[in-house]
Symmetry: C3
Subunit: 137 residues, 3 copies
């Protein structure tokens, strides 16, 4: 299993990490081992991962706004800990993203669609974050 470390910059931010995942897979040497799929896993509770179009920066902004809006900061929230009252960040992590994606491998590389990129989804930044990358047979 490989770890990607990244620094996020904003409260809610989508960061494309497709290239870092490809690098990690190269180190993992999955193709040589006959791997069938790559598992991308986020070990955080106010962050996640999503796959969407990697071409247009304005779409990334649109997605950030939609991921913000699907959960209201003004809903009634009780949770408050050392990170402050960040319950909406936890709710967005589950409602707008996922802790993992599993991508098939083809000819040793990610079988992503033409326009697909993998995005780390930060919902409570800025923070130092990790992504786990491993391969399955």
């Amino acid at each position: 299993m490989r770890e990607i470390v990244l620094e996020t910059e904003r409260k809610l931010q989508l960061i494309e990490v497709t290239d870092q995942i490809r690098d990690a897979l190269g180190q993992e040497n999955g193709a040589a081992n006959g791997a069938t799929a790559a598992l991308i896993y986020v070990p955080h509770t106010t962050a996640g991962v999503a796959i969407n179009e990697r071409i247009d920066p304005e779409l990334v902004t649109d997605l950030e706004n939609a991921f913000q809006r699907v959960v209201g900061d003004d809903w009634e929230w009780k949770h408050e800990d050392e990170d402050g009252p960040n319950a909406p960040s936890h709710a967005r992590a589950s409602l707008a993203s996922s802790p993992q994606v599993l991508i098939p491998l083809k000819d040793g590389g990610l079988a992503l669609g033409t326009y697909q990129g993998v995005f780390f989804c930060e919902f409570d930044g800025p923070r130092t974050r990790k992504i786990y990358v491993t391969t399955l047979r």
Copy 2:
């Protein structure tokens, strides 16, 4: 890895593909190879996959309406490309569906619950679409 090709007919449409996935798995011959799970992956950015009840057509309509409503066409969107201003379709793909499901195999078949079916989720149709099906050990 097998590919299922399908033609969608409406802008937002859920299409049950459980039987096509079973056919693809039969060709993949997963059981004979000791496979443990089937990976269903959608290589598109305005489509996805979901598992829900396959019995009642009215529920499928209810789900289509809910998947539509969770993201508003009237939110502020910037993205516009050759496919037109379809940012809500991208947002729905991530918020209302997933790029993949992973289903355990039991006695060589999908270990789906009694009422579960696999649905391709079209959010920007009509289009020609693909689903990748592969097995993991």
Copy 3:
């Protein structure tokens, strides 16, 4: 493949099942078999699974309220069967949770983040429910 059986108590309820999953994995003896990841699968259409923070009970209540609110009981619904008019429960299962999570294994155990727990998400309880647990190589 192991099965966890649980009894839910409320209409919409998040129940942490991390320990039960660890027990099931111990019986599955995944580490000894060189497993790479654990697949947690829910074979129901009005329930699912999510990963979020397992520390603060108030956050669990916040998440239950958010998972309730993201889908409106007052939206127009048609579906009605022997379980009653429970279309919102089906919609919540797809919009607020997932039928499965796939968690990497490290040194024979779940590679969860420090604050992560696995939650069974009931959207149409109380009911008797199942979770399938299996390991992948």
